[in-house]
Symmetry: C2
Subunit: 372 residues, 2 copies
Amino acid sequence: MAVAKRLEVKLESNVLDNVEWYILMSKNIKISDIAKSLGISTATVSRALSGSDRVTQATKDKVKQEADRLHYRPNLAARNLRIQKSMAILLVVRDMSNPFYLEVFKGVEGIARRAGYSVLMGNTEGDVERENEYFNMLADGHVDGMILMTGKLPAKHKLLEMPASETSIVIALEKIKDCNLRRVIIDNEAAAEVATQHLIDLGHKKIAHIAGPEHEPMSMLRTKGYRNALKAAKLLSTEKLEYIGDYSLESGKAACHKLFSNAQDYPTALFVANDEMAFGVINELRKIGLDVPQDVSVVGFDNLSFSGSFYPPLTTISQPRIDIGKQAMHMLLNVMNGKIDTAVDMRMPTNLKIRSSTRQLNISDNSEVKND
Amino acid sequence: MAVAKRLEVKLESNVLDNVEWYILMSKNIKISDIAKSLGISTATVSRALSGSDRVTQATKDKVKQEADRLHYRPNLAARNLRIQKSMAILLVVRDMSNPFYLEVFKGVEGIARRAGYSVLMGNTEGDVERENEYFNMLADGHVDGMILMTGKLPAKHKLLEMPASETSIVIALEKIKDCNLRRVIIDNEAAAEVATQHLIDLGHKKIAHIAGPEHEPMSMLRTKGYRNALKAAKLLSTEKLEYIGDYSLESGKAACHKLFSNAQDYPTALFVANDEMAFGVINELRKIGLDVPQDVSVVGFDNLSFSGSFYPPLTTISQPRIDIGKQAMHMLLNVMNGKIDTAVDMRMPTNLKIRSSTRQLNISDNSEVKND
DNA sequence: TTGAAAGCGTTACCAG
DNA sequence: CTGGTAACGCTTTCAA
């Protein structure tokens, strides 16, 4: 605030009432300036400004007008100190460079700003250290609330030992074991089932799956959905048809080599647990001479903003990312205001976006004998 | 802070010295608690904690130990109010959902956190209203500094009327007319020239260009680089070979139809001002039966994280996004600390990433007669 | 080297 | 309905 400093010298002069001068020199007007100028108390000014109903409309108007004239802008640090809030929330993600989170952020930010909150974004990159750091920010009052998108919780943090109703945390899209915080989620299992069913409906019999990391709840749910669909259709479900990846492009490539090692007998369809891995397999498939969707159909999960411009345009499960962000923020707002909904989970809809990476399997394409 | 509230009741009791109790109840320890517990003044505690050299090492140690024992955590709002800083900076972008900004953000955040700053992200979406709002945040002291990535400035804002040395703003990657704020940039013109030259080196004669929005400085620079290269190679440069887009996927598609309307005589190469538009053209080209790079070579600009997984993997100009973010933040830190470098611009290197969307043009491919 | 005390700009309590 | 004033928790000046 070099500006403010420079002014203090000049303040000695007697032009304190000259509005023009204030504006020109960008002196920071405070409540007491308005009060002095109007000959009333700071208390009244404060109340008038915050729209308290314990002030006459007349004084309210007078104060507001004077505030405008003087270009008054409240000092947030002071207010925050006084009301013991930071008016900021924190969105924590695993990996900030994943574009997936951007739209969620957008949703969150929109609602937050309207409610007067700023949004900080933190990324843990899987680092427990940093995870803890972000939890500390909440504990320290650096932020008033937190939306967690890292399927993890610090091993032990004092915040987690308090009743959930007093912890301003909302979990988005992730499932965390042994944790009963409020969440906004999608039905991963059902969505995965829908995705797989789409493949089944297209006539595929041998459907493989590229999963996310083992033991990770979200990933397990998607795998479960895949298995459910196969089971319901009485199709082959074996571990040989499942590859465990880590959501990365690279692991998609690796899966390709594993699943398609036998040139004679490979799966004709693939349900991949996220779009990024799907990109990886498809590109690798092309390299080994297999075309999507001609030779193998692929459906992904996420519908990244990019998935539609991929070649071939990817059939995938679409999540309402912006709405998820909005809902999470709404929920957090409620939590912070003490209006805690009894409903613990808010479930957002997903839908299958059918594009061009999947196709009907002709009977002649299939070397296996139909068994029904 | 429901917690704190609940405690005030209990505070009446006489167990104020019971550390365990403090921890258990997550009572917020303040400097005066440490002072009281140690029988010294708050001034000394504050100094000890901030590492002032006007305290004996002995007391420093004592204080720090006690602070640890009591799990002291400073109250930022109070500190910020006192020192008249917010310890937060703002990164303003045009469109938050553009993944391009994510890595810049990552770079910024890393440096900022290390320096004790939080990072807020704002997006203007081209809205002048919001642009002004973000400038107000800076003027109000809501943030201490600002990194601008929207090639725009509010028409008139008091901040802009102060000497640049007192305005804590750094411009990243954009050029703004009539504005002498500090910037971290790349050499758009030279990079575009390199990109185009690559096409020329591959033997292409008829090279078209898909530009960004007209009148926008960055876009103009890239177009200029393209023209320079053609001129130097004595190649045809005409308005008919240039299409003005808006950086969007859609405008890339539109460009395709315009530039390739004549099936007999179309450009064999394309320099596209950003990757997103490149994706658009390439997909559209495929639809009208033209293969990249077989029939037409394409080079983009940006090297989005996705560009390598596109099909075909895109040849493009790569910008060091994370480093750009880091540098911008370093610069901002210097500005905020009053260590203003005399150097106004920091230029970051770019490089041409050659992948598979460009190929050597055979002489037989070219219907035109060589003229050299 | 340390301590007392004055703020930083608000809000909120308690009187009137 | 309004005014005086005590916080909020910290840093920093001025004295000792």
